[in-house]
């Protein structure tokens, strides 16, 4: 006899209370909540680039992935991804498979299109890993429950305190610092978010800073935006940093320093294709160059982009995200991901433990995913 015991707990102040604090803080809290409502569902195409790294045979910035994606506040999501790295070296073609997966907060259907095989099971975190437009909107700051992430207003509302951040010379946008906003297993993080009033309060900086040490853990810098709908601006180019702590300032070999220089040159990034002008290129260089300078935490401890400070490891940060297109009003997005899977695809039903085909599985699976009209 199996027994289910259930408990629900109040998970932080819901964003339903009237904004508190000074007038500027109240204004930004309301603006971020409004922006979050405007971007509650997004379908987009993106490309992500990895920095140069001689150790990994990447002499220039290189394409990591190209994908079509969908995410919404109901925790529905879709991912159509090609693991296609554009490394010029022959020995560097890592994987070339194409995978489609989609689901909601409890169920995932996925298929490897090369193998014609897939499964219906529970979600993994794959669709929320790495730079995404959804992450640039501040919806993936819950490091303890990434794929069940809260929105920025939800995170800010649940923080132990909030303070207004004045614009600065290097970050000329107002912002909010939310204390202890992103709990993780090993401690807690402050959230700093700066939004752009002249572009519909689109997030420009999202930064997670470890309490106590001041170490930046993750940082998203949106360097270009576009108007997806009247008054609603979305990130178009973003630089996403992930940092790691080191015990001391590392002594790096010339090859590693050369990697940094190559990253600063921007070579390999599709800047002409995206019409990136000199001013914006200058901003991007500045952000990259700043990243290679070890950030000081406490005496004798520094932090650098992940991999950069360890000569025997691949440099994996920062990564640059380019948004090719996006819509805020997608129609039947999950069904389109479902259509990418061939009817004869062999499928394992991980919920009940049996093998079947996508043709047989699809009606029931789509009902689980909130598409009951698919029952046919």
């Amino acid at each position: 006899m199996a027994v289910l015991v259930c408990s629900m707990a109040y998970g932080g102040q819901p964003p339903t209370a009237a904004p508190t604090g000074g007038p500027e803080l109240r204004a930004l809290v309301a603006a971020i909540e409004g922006y979050s409502a405007d971007t509650a569902a997004v379908e987009w195409r993106q490309r992500t680039y990895l920095p140069p790294c001689q150790l990994a045979h990447r002499p220039t910035w290189s394409l990591l992935e190209s994908s079509g994606r969908y995410m919404d506040e109901r925790w529905n999501w879709g991912l159509d991804i090609r693991h296609r790295r554009s490394g010029p070296e022959d020995d560097w073609n890592v994987t070339f498979k194409e995978e489609v997966s989609f689901g909601n907060g409890g169920v995932r259907a996925c298929a490897d299109l090369d193998l014609d095989e897939g499964m219906l099971t529970e979600p993994t975190n794959f669709h929320v890993w790495g730079p995404t437009l959804w992450g640039c909107l501040g919806r993936l700051t819950d490091l303890q429950a990434t794929r069940r992430g809260r929105s920025l207003p939800e995170v800010i509302a649940a923080a132990s305190s909030r303070e207004y951040l004045e614009p600065t010379a290097s970050e000329p946008w107002p912002g909010i610092r939310a204390r202890d906003a992103a709990p993780i297993s090993a401690g807690a993080l402050d959230l700093e978010v700066r939004v752009d009033p002249d572009h519909g309060f689109c997030p420009r900086v999202i930064r997670l800073v470890r309490l106590g040490t001041g170490q930046v853990g993750e940082e998203t810098r949106v360097v270009d935006v576009f108007e997806a709908e009247r008054g609603v601006w979305l990130p178009r180019i973003a630089i996403v940093h992930g940092y790691e702590a080191l015990e001391r300032v590392p002594e790096l070999p010339p090859e590693r320093l050369q990697d940094f220089e190559r990253a600063n040159s921007l070579e390999g990034l599709p800047l002409d294709e995206f019409g990136v002008g000199e001013a914006l290129r200058g901003q991007m260089r500045e952000i990259f160059e700043g990243g290679w300078k070890p950030g000081s935490i406490v005496i004798g401890t520094v932090y650098l982009p992940i991999g950069a400070g360890r000569p025997d490891q691949e440099i994996v940060c920062p990564q640059v995200l380019f948004i090719e297109s996006a819509t805020l009003t997608p129609r039947t997005p999950l069904r389109r991901f479902a259509d990418r899977m061939l009817s004869d695809t062999r499928m394992y039903d991980g919920l009940t433990g049996v093998w079947t085909t996508w043709r047989e599985m699809r009606p029931g699976a789509m009902r689980l995913l909130g598409e009951p009209q698919e029952a046919r």
Partner: protein, 337 residues
Amino acid sequence: MMLAMVVLALGTCPGQPPAPVSEPPAEPFRLISATPEDLGTVHGGVAVVRELRFRNTSEHALRPRISWVSCGCLQATAKPEAVSPGAEFTIRIVGTAVPAGPAQDLSAKYVVSWSVDEQLRSVEGEVVVRYSPSTDLVVRPTEIAAWCVAGEPLRVPMWVREATTNAMAPDALRPVISAGPGLWIQPVAFQDVTAPDGPSAVRAGLELGPTPPGIFDGWVSVGSAPEAAALRVPIRVRTVLPWAASPGAARLRASVGEPARAEVRLRPVGSSTELPACTLEVEPGIEGLSATIEGTTIRLAVTRLRGPDGAVVVVRGPDGALMARVPVVLWPTQRAR
């Protein structure tokens, strides 16, 4: 009591010092301590660790290393790399317990080598750690995120099946709800979804009671008996109000000292399609800011923008029920620094 802590590949008895490959017993090292091999019942996600400590009893420098692990998820270490005569070394394996299934064995093989007259000698050993997952049931999903409209029912599907055999009939698996005080999950509906030739399985539809707006975190635990250690499935529920503003906020922008206006429309999010007559409250009140509603359109105006400020228009139905809330942003178009 488990005595079989080290199984030597060369055929010596468990717990005995390993023998060299091609020499009469030289006993180059000796086991001096070991943590238990059988850890009993372990909850999913908990670290499973076994550590063996040896002393170099020979007059040679020993080099221990890991040669094989039973699972890629297993971390195995042999430290230090070089062990002087009389010094100690440690073989350690660390895994993570799976939440369900039959008894689990995790193992790693290690090789200890040394040189005698420039000839390399070695012995191989194996370290094993064993545990039983805390439940014999497989539950899917193991983590849930759900969305619902305030005041409307929410049903969350779950699947429970027996982990090892097909012998258990669905009736025996049929879970029974047991809610403690203050818990608000409604009775669970079950459906037999046992497939021909497949494992026995039941689908459990958790029906959650009405929830106030916001994010709520909780859990459901599943065990094979009331007293059995449970598998905890975290649940996050996002509950939204039945009507939402479009655009998402009323943004009043003008130069400081100038009047400003904005307009939003309310659209249904849940099953209701007609907005009843509603009242508006602005929280907190802002001098000169007014809000009116006509049909589904809310109009806001401020007589003179004084600087950045923010508020919320709270929309309530005839019975006082919360229908929507509209963020209000006042932000100067050109702001003095």
